[in-house]
Symmetry: C2
Subunit: 487 residues, 2 copies
């Protein structure tokens, strides 16, 4: 498997047909996906038992050592990368999942051979970083380096302002990155969005032209795959056209939505991703990898080490006796790093990457069922922020009984926007649910609930009703308390 292959499967008619066939083969009936996801769900309690073996694994593999008489044992059992590839079955399969003894065996192997790098299986050039904010910074620094390699040595002082573009619905890390990396937040231009939350192509082009007319220099566009609040996916094909036209680096913040690469039904959300120069992807979001697990991936071969390398002899000796291309330190801005790659690899290895496709397809299906339930409960006070959502984010209000069928004045709206924070407070105090809320200030819209479905937990239909019933119960309880002077 290879990110190129996956991205490209959503392009070209022939490929689309193939994909549809594959999808049909995969889901012959509506129950196929459900069965596939249930088999994962029912085995979760068994999977978690792996944690009970961690201590035994470490003891058996002699990871603990307090005294010199134990030094007869090897500290590390070195094998050349080529040999390790034979000893440990690194290949990730689509549908082959592993049994618990097999997963244990891999953990034992990793403990035994650890210290060697195991990054070679992410195709294309890339690096794991400690989070999406920093992955996005990698994109900005790489784009800047391609445009002006001399900034690496000389800095940005003499230059006309370099400008990046990102939609007003995109993640705040782009603005923070513009601040940290010395561009300045005013050189991070907010592009308007359409009703669904997607970047307006017209506004993007018009703002690029405005900036050029001012003598500032556009160099970078960030598109988003799964915006934070509404879960919107920008139209990557159209954004890529603009970037080609004006010679701009296209980065995709796919921290939230990148996991759709594994989907069977919804992979087309990422159509055009292959035309970007780089993208960020956080398996710790939709896929449920433990924090932190974030990747920066670029198609520009050689650029990453060229951009970030520095001769550091005490760490990255050139006179090693194995293939030093496994030393990825020169690509990174960090020195000591966690082996975040292992988590992702073990997840994909243990379940088969296709399992995550099923789980995410299911999360998208269930989010659409949730939207339908909200529509059905319209008369019971539920109101959607958008009629439909592209990804697994569902945003909605609950209108308590005492606010229904009244004129929706500014005062009425302000009362509505107080509902979510109050319900959230009760949720936390009672401990029954955890559900976020937020406003969309640039749309002049106040607090609403935001439910984001992910691979784990695997939510079922009846649980959706529980969630809605609970919101209703808490909201009415809230009002009762308020009117009785309890709060």
């Amino acid at each position: 498997m290879n990110s190129d292959q996956i991205c490209n499967q959503s392009n070209g008619n022939e490929q689309q047909q193939q994909q549809q066939q594959q999808q049909q083969q995969m889901y012959n009936s509506p129950t196929d996906l459900i069965n596939s996801v249930d088999s994962i769900r029912l085995k979760l309690t068994d999977d978690w038992k792996l944690l009970s073996s961690i201590y035994d694994l470490l003891v058996d593999e002699k990871a603990f050592c307090t005294a010199s008489h134990e030094w007869n044992e090897k500290i590390v059992q070195f094998e050349q990368p080529k040999e390790l590839k034979k000893l440990i079955d690194l290949k990730i399969d689509e549908n082959k999942s592993l049994t618990m003894p097999e997963i244990e065996k891999i953990c034992r192997q990793i403990i035994k051979y650890s210290i060697s790098e195991l990054c070679g299986y992410v195709h294309g050039d890339g690096i794991f970083s400690p989070g999406g904010s920093i992955s996005n910074m990698y994109g900005l620094v790489l784009a800047r380096y391609r445009r002006h390699p001399n900034i690496k040595t000389g800095g940005m002082f003499g230059l006309p302002p370099l400008v990046l573009f990102t939609s007003q619905e995109s993640h705040y890390s782009l603005k923070k990155a513009a601040h940290w990396l010395g561009f300045g937040m005013n050189n991070c231009i907010e592009v308007a969005t359409n009703e669904r939350g997607q970047m307006s192509i017209e506004d993007l082009e018009s703002k690029i032209l405005d900036i050029k007319a001012e003598g500032r220099v556009p160099f970078f566009v960030n598109a988003t795959a799964g915006t934070t609040v509404l879960g919107a996916f920008d139209d990557f094909e159209k954004v890529a056209n603009i970037c080609e036209k004006y010679n701009l680096w296209l980065h995709v913040d796919a921290c939230l939505g990148g996991s759709a690469l594994f989907c069977y039904k919804y992979r087309q959300l990422l159509k055009g991703l292959h035309r970007s120069n780089s993208f960020s992807w956080n398996p710790h979001k939709s896929m449920g990898a433990p924090l932190q697990c974030s990747l920066f991936i670029t198609r520009e071969l050689e650029l990453l080490p060229q951009c970030n390398s520095l001769a550091v002899d005490y760490l990255f000796q050139q006179d090693k006796f194995y293939d030093i291309s496994y030393d990825t330190g020169n690509k990174s801005i960090q020195c000591g790093r966690k082996v975040d790659a292992f988590k992702l690899w073990l997840m994909l290895k243990a379940r088969g990457y296709g399992s995550f496709g099923h789980l995410l397809d299911y999360a998208l299906d269930i989010s659409k069922i949730f939207v339908n339930k909200l529509k059905q409960r319209k008369d019971h006070g539920f109101r959607l922020v958008l009629d439909e959502f592209q990804y697994t984010n569902v945003c909605f209000w609950y209108i308590p009984k005492h606010l229904r069928n009244l004129e929706e004045t500014e005062e009425w709206n302000n009362q509505l926007y107080e509902v979510a924070p109050k319900v959230k407070e009760l949720m936390i105090r009672e401990g029954t649910l955890m559900l976020g809320y937020c406003p969309l200030q640039y749309r002049n819209v106040g607090n609403f609930f935001r439910m984001v479905f992910t691979c784990f937990p695997i939510i079922n239909d009846s649980e959706l009703d529980f969630i809605l019933d609970e919101i209703e119960r808490l909201a009415e309880q809230c009002h009762k308390h308020t009117s009785n002077g309890f709060v």
Copy 2:
């Protein structure tokens, strides 16, 4: 306990007297420190058993939940920060260590109440970051913000070059940071060092004057507490005098040496640290906290949130029902972050922070014993890079028999510099030892061994002999193989 108090204990006569008294009380005889450290060492195998309870802890505290019928249980048991402080004994003691049942109890409490912030116990303003490289970036961005707050919005484009100074022995992350943050590596000026590896104060001042004469703007000096190769500590008092004279931000990269804050015998290494504006400290180095555990700490109150904040409504709601000063997101450049604070807090809590003082005092003592052993083995081919080291790094060559008592020509040196890489290769293949090597190129010195002592493992005297014997054995074996044509 408070970092101010610790730093300041090394200042002022009265405090010095107190400290000496305390030290004397602590170590009445040479065996006192040994006994204290041995009691930790002998209990390690018991401590590690905590790992075997992790699964049970998570099951008992109902962290796992697959089905809706388990939803009667609370997802989180919310308590106000004030109440949590009563429920969980947050205070870290100097000498009180916890029993295993007490440590288990704390882990259970954290699982039970987790999601609440637990950062409030690091005094002064600061933030955990994913590593020393990024902690050092925090220092640079904060210093830049104090000097030119407008850079946050406008960028650095119109300005005369801002210049930072750091010693040629300092960590490479400063240069990488200069590249990333837009200063450019040529605006990161390398200051010469003395024989021990400490920054030359004369060269620092002279280079500051040179840069000013060129029209560039000095704004930041990085001093180092524990350089990577030689373990040198800059003279913070003298560097601080220069910084005050020229109004420069003083940052201390104490990633390696910051743990000396806990020392009883060697705390004076950090004399003057209190005069810095900020410092970085990685408990994942000398103290043995699991990767990643890095802190950025600054004395400039209010500056960190002012510098890095951004209104982010969907995350940092202002209408929460608890004290929002516990939300540290506005100080950070990151969004999702690991709870690295917990590891450090639990370590200090479980053992008492004084234990780490003993362990590090012991590591420094044993490194000096190692230096003496190397001197005693001078005739057996061992040669020190420096006569003495300030911290726990010990750098040395091994001269194989066939190279001894020959004229030390350039060719002879080149042969000597090949010894460490060859021995390291054999070490890894045989798995008996792991010991780094590196050159010091700006001193025109080739590869030598670099042994760095840390709190864990706790090395004893006989193990030092094993290490030296093993290096000797492998080096001679290496030469034998080479002359027999085996390699």
